[in-house]
């Protein structure tokens, strides 16, 4: 039986400070929304962003000072990797809030609660990045998803949004069921829930099935094929800032768990899960890219491109080395700027033209050279064109895979670059080459501009001068530097 020691010292509490602070902050925001009649939702948005900024500063200070440690019998760890992922989550949330401020204006009800929900999900995901055993994985995953169930269906008069919410909810609950079942199997086989204690476990069918179920549940979160079915409809139906949020933050949090689970707990079964990731990666990339070609709606296009991008990220998981982990984390940074930037442009455009159809992007360059140029940069970064961030991210992943000699995966990945180039360029073609039917200019509000400029700056900086960020990722995953080699074998894999 596990004994929990819940008495916390002040030194321990420091490790939880970002989450505690953000929790108090969001309670304050909710209270202000209820009590102060005069406060506008824009002000609430700015307050939320301020809270996130303070949290980010705290995390950066922790990173600098090396404030790390574990709490609650290793259920919660704050190491450099957790801090890295938390910064990504906080940064993504802040960018999403910048995009939301104007969008929230269109909601008929619950404008203030929107910020509460977003921040609550963010806190849940921050806990996810720190969770170090299966129990906390389950609790934090559900906690973070809870906010999303509400957020996806926020446009309650919109049929699409309600449909998206329902789809997301049903599949999310299903995934939760799989997760719980997987956890129970793993616990039954190993007698422990903490990742680091599982490292020496003996292989058995029960363990294998348990982990495959857990992988499936996390696969739902990151939207890897074959667990991607909810993605396109949910992305299309959800309010666009929520889609942007959904396209990045939960994926980052789930990847933190995947990294911990496979690189630490399952290090000894590496040959088996490498195969799993290779297959999942190949299918995600190919499926995502090929289906994206046929899309007419920009949100759906970005949804499928997101599936393909997760396939790219899984190249790093398949490599199964520290370098693979570093590559994933660097790629996530590049993906954050490019993807959120693209969604910011989508929001900016849709606020004026009230449409998300790619057809309506015709001649965007004439209507708003700024938005068109920004979208061009973001899409090309997603496609992996130098000198943009996505290119370095892809090369990093490919180098990690090459060092493990995963040739099939590499070849598929490289072919997919060409396929993805096609549909990104289709959007570019609409924006630059086609002539607009309506030539009125598209104005951009300040908060969205902030989000777009941040995206541009990040995309260019990470592409031209990635050194410090690569080093940051390398330092964050020092714990993987001695990944245990394959020692145990599962009975299903002949010869180990």
């Amino acid at each position: 039986m596990m004994q929990f020691n819940l008495s916390l010292s002040a030194a321990d509490l420091i490790l939880l400070l970002p989450e505690i602070f953000l929790t108090i902050w969001l309670c304050v925001i909710l209270a202000l929304d209820f009590s102060l009649k005069r406060i506008t939702h824009q002000q609430l948005g700015h307050l939320s962003i301020a809270g996130l900024a303070i949290t980010a500063i705290m995390l950066l200070v922790f990173d600098q000072n090396g404030t790390t440690g574990a709490l609650f019998k290793d259920m919660y760890v704050l190491d450099h990797m957790a801090i890295f992922f938390k910064i990504i989550i906080v940064g993504a949330t802040a960018l999403v809030l910048f995009m939301s401020i104007d969008y929230v204006q269109e909601f008929r009800f619950f404008k203030g609660e929107y910020y509460f929900m977003v921040l609550m999900s963010a806190i849940g995901m921050m806990f996810m990045a720190s969770s170090n055993d299966l129990l906390s994985v389950f609790v934090t995953l559900e906690f973070s998803t809870f906010g999303f169930y509400v957020l996806v269906a926020y446009l309650r008069d919109d049929q699409r949004s309600s449909e998206a919410g329902l789809k997301f909810f049903i599949l999310g609950v299903f995934a939760a069921g799989l997760l719980a079942y997987g956890i129970s199997l793993v616990y039954g086989e190993t007698g422990t829930l903490v990742f680091s204690e599982m490292a020496g476990a003996q292989g058995s069918y029960g363990l294998a099935i348990g982990f495959i179920l857990i992988f499936a549940a996390l696969g739902f979160k990151i939207g890897a094929v074959p667990f991607h079915a909810w993605i396109p409809d949910t992305y299309q139906g959800a309010p666009t800032p929520v889609t942007a949020f959904l396209s990045l933050a939960p994926k980052a949090a789930a990847l933190a768990i995947l990294l911990r689970m496979f690189f630490v707990a399952l290090a000894s079964f590496k040959p088996m899960w490498v195969l799993l990731f290779v297959v999942a990666s190949i299918f995600s990339m190919t499926y995502g890219n090929i289906v994206a070609i046929a899309q007419k709606n920009i949100k759906r296009l970005l949804a499928y491109s997101g599936i393909a991008q997760i396939g790219n990220i899984m190249i790093g998981l398949a490599a199964g080395t520290k370098q693979g982990g570093d590559a994933i984390m660097f790629y996530l940074l590049t993906y954050m700027f490019a993807n959120l930037g693209a969604f910011a442009v989508v929001i900016a455009v849709s606020q004026v033209i009230k449409s998300d159809e790619i057809e309506d992007y015709n001649g965007l360059n004439r209507r708003s050279p700024f938005l068109a140029a920004a979208m061009l940069l973001f899409l090309l970064s997603l496609a992996g064109v130098p000198p943009l961030a996505g290119f370095i991210g892809k090369i990093y992943l490919f180098i990690a895979a090459m060092n493990q000699e995963l040739y099939t995966l590499l070849i598929v990945g490289l072919i997919n670059i060409v396929i993805s180039m096609y549909y990104y360029l289709i959007v570019v073609k609409k924006m630059y080459i086609n002539e607009p039917t309506d030539t009125s200019p598209i104005p951009t509000s300040l908060p969205i501009k902030v989000a777009v400029y941040t995206g541009i700056a990040g995309t260019l900086l990470l592409g031209i001068y990635p050194g410090p960020f690569i080093d940051w990722a390398i330092d964050a995953t020092l714990m993987f530097s001695n990944i245990v080699g394959p020692t145990a074998s599962l009975p299903i894999l002949p010869g180990g």
Partner: protein
Amino acid sequence: MGEYSLLIILFAPFLGAIALIFIPRQEELMVRMTAAISAGISLLASFYIFFAYDPAKGGFQFVQRFAWSEELGIAFYVGVDGIGGPLVFASAILLFAGIFVSWHIKDRTKEFYIFLLILAAATIGVFMSLDLFFLYFFYEMSVLPMYLLLGVWGSHTKGYLSMTDPEGLKLRDSVDFIFNFGSNSKEYAAMKLTLFLSAGAVMALMGILLIYHMSGLHTFDILVLREQAKFTDTMSNIIWFLIFIGFASIAPIWPLHSWSPVGHAAAPAATSMLHAGVLMKLGHFSIIRVAFEILPEATHKWMWVAAVLCIGSIIYGGLVSYFAKDTKYVIGYSSSSHMGYIFLGMAALSYISLSGAVIYMFAHALATSMLFAMAGWVYDQTHSRDIPSLGGLSEKMPFIAGAFIVGCMASIGMPGTINFVAEIMIIVGSWEKYPFQVLVAILGIVLTMAYMFKMMRGLFYGKLDPEFAHTSDAKNWIDRMPLILLIACSIILGLFPGHFYDVVSSTVEPMIDRINQVAPLVTQNTQGLLP
């Protein structure tokens, strides 16, 4: 100052592009001047490196190295040798000329110059990269601006080859039907070009990553790899083919050429100039830089493939040019045909032939960009590129007609132009190893004469259609300057190729020695053939 000249050449256009972002779009003159000034700085610095390169010392000069990512073994490492230097010079000339050729572009001038500068700077970047990562980085970076330049400022082609019989019945729209599916929109051309080149690029990337990993060195440094990389036979063959096919598709060698004339024909004049002038040479250059330097054994073993395929390039390109009716299409296919000479020179692997190939890259860049510039002028004036419907334009545009004739002569390889020097070197240098291909090349020259004369006659002689009575010549210095610059470079270097030859051979000779040392087969007795 001198040692930083490569950085100046590379970053002047980039900084120009960045500066353009902040210039309001109404200030069109300022936009053009900014572009011209940044290209001018680049041209002056490249002029300097071309003449300051010391052939006696050889090797890589003006080297600059900055750490970029220790973890991945990447450094920002630039330098030029006798092959990169002239090509950097050619790129800078073409960029400068191209900016003046496109002086009259009205639609979205600012964006046009931004993309043009990025395209040229990326091309220049490839020619000076001594790090495989950056070579690929700039290579891939040069592809994307092409998409927009073609798609936005390009023009639809009017059918590739409307081959009609005397009764006016259409026999067949295109010899290229199988590859082109009869589509002649600029969007199609742009997309085809981009996807083709990206596909080639990722193939080459696979080769580069294999070099990175299989050499066991985990570095992208070309000089380190050249000295230390050792591969097993199978692996070096695989890598060689990945590199060769990947880069030859931009060159473009015969069965992989179909994107190029389509792209040329659709592109605006300045883009065609850069594209045919230097972008296509990225392929040859990268093969020399990567395959010749790092994989000498495989190069020696497999370079005959290029010698076989170049027959297809020369003959097919020449024949299509002869039958084509669209000016840009003729020039585009003639480029594709002339690329065959470069491959022949490279395949023969002798001092003279490889030097000839390098000089030909430079010479062809000047000649073909002249022709594209003038085809662009004719198109701007007449809004037609259909040779049969034009004619007698020399009455209206004597300067253009004169310059066009010089361009055609250069393209044919008339003595006095640098093309002559290059062609004769390729032919002499390859005779020993590939006599049949040399005969094909000579036939190719005859074909070139045929279609060039045909095009000249079609455009400038005969009766002037009254429809074109309003057309005008290039009158002011802005319009004439780029043509004069290109012609002057071609003729001056053609008359005095000494320094150029020294520069090229100082790099080519050790390279050929390395390749042939591995398995000495070809005797070198062609020394002293040139002054």
